[in-house]
């Protein structure tokens, strides 16, 4: 572990975890020698973690409609959405909205 790691916690819920081997929470470490915006994280997730059809998670370079992204328990819209620059130990939660009752 050097000073050039970017450790993150990624979480998936509301059914989004089904696209990721049914794993709800995982620790990942990105190359911290460069900056990572969420849009780059999405590409990394697609290339490294996504197990199912990508269009069920991503559409038009963002998450698909119906998935809410929360960074440290705040709506990513409050932080600049795709442009937010990830910080060490950020918690990023991707939650699919539920409609049942």
């Amino acid at each position: 572990m050097g000073g050039t790691d970017l450790p993150l916690v990624l979480e998936f819920g509301g059914g989004a975890e089904l696209l990721f081997d049914n794993v709800k929470k995982r620790q990942v470490t990105l190359d911290g020698s460069k900056t990572w915006k969420i849009k780059e994280l999405l590409g990394w997730i697609r290339d490294n973690l996504l197990r199912e059809r990508p269009e069920l998670f991503l559409q038009n370079d963002s998450v698909r409609p119906g998935i809410l992204v929360l960074v440290n328990d705040a709506d990513w819209e409050l932080l600049g959405e795709l442009e937010y620059e990830l910080q060490p130990n950020d918690n990023v939660l991707f939650i699919s909205t539920l409609h049942g009752g």
């Binding site: 509301g14 698909r64 119906g66 809410l68 939650i95 409609h99």
Partner: protein, 432 residues
Amino acid sequence: MEAQQESIAALEAEIRELQASLQRKKDELHSLKQSTVTAGKLTNNDIARYSRQIILPQVTVAGQLKLKASSVLIVGAGGLGCPAGLYLASAGIGELGIVDYDTVEVNNLHRQVLHSELTLNLPKAQSARAALQQINSQLKVRTYEVQLKSENALEILQPYDIVLDCTDNVATRYLLNDACVLLKKPLVSGSALQFEGQLTIYNYNGGPCYRCIFPTPPPPETVTNCGDGGVLGAVTGVIGSLQALEAVKVLLKLDGTLAGRLLIFDGTASSFRNVKLRPRREDCAVCSAKATITKLIDYEQFCGMRASDKDMALKVLQSDERISVEDLKSIRDSRKPHLVIDVRNPLEFEICHIEGSVNIPLKQIIEDKGLDDLKQRTSGGIPVFVFCRRGNDSQLAVKHLRKKLEGVAEAKDVVGGLHAWHYRIDNNFPIY
């Protein structure tokens, strides 16, 4: 055995008749009692009944009077609406409206706790009303045994102080949101699936509306309903109860409501997570100054989905690529060689399956897993018949298999799936 079954059926019928006659008496009594409900003050009965909440500093006599003068509309008398109604009726809300077009089915009973074996096949709104008034005879209940639509939504919502979204589909959720924005009413929105639940209040206290968060509906193929995904009763119970709590807080004008926040419940970890939502969108299509939606639209068209959690009958095959359950039955009876494939997931296969059928989940078929084995089993042109629960997934499987097995064997879809088998061939085959 048969004589016993007959006695059971006869007794059940008699009890249902007595229940109906009892309900008529109750309604009569209720309307008489209603004329004694005093507005504007608490009766001795009210004081005794609600004392444990009146003594709370957040409630007090003034708060209880507010609840008594309040009205709440519950849209959907299902897994969420039942517990929500239970706590609202018990808390002394003056009037509840219940919207539900559906009837009580046996697969509802594990979570829809106002309904019972005795109210099977009755309209859910009626069943819920009877149960709630049994708990609180002072409660006024109006039932709406209709599907909420753009044409009737404003009229139905108009008289109520708050609306509870206890529905089960995307189109109705957008409809309720827009109607509440147009009528300036808070919308307490709950949802649940499997072991998870979500809860917030839209359009309240300056907070966002549903469209501020989700301007675009999700793609239909990403939406799972309770019938397909499953749901645990205690999970809808948690969320529905919390909807009642939030409604009471809104009625009492208490701070700390979920407006602007989303509560995420994960029953597998017993964890509650409270996240901060964005503020209202300045360009929201319905709640902003730049609104483009100024009257209700066609929500089924907007979402590309029906306003129901019932499955649509898919039709992706030609009729000669399908077989009826009756024709399959005669092939089976004639003992001609054939192969029956069931494409449901293994957990569902375990619940029930056609004798001798082979379980290959749809996903494996699409990924061509086990294709060589399948080719071997069907070599020489042994026909393949494909089942699923209702005959939708099986069509997708057959579409794929017909290409992959070309020149080896012919695959056909069993129209209507196991449901058709139950209804038309074998009543003793379980249905779910």
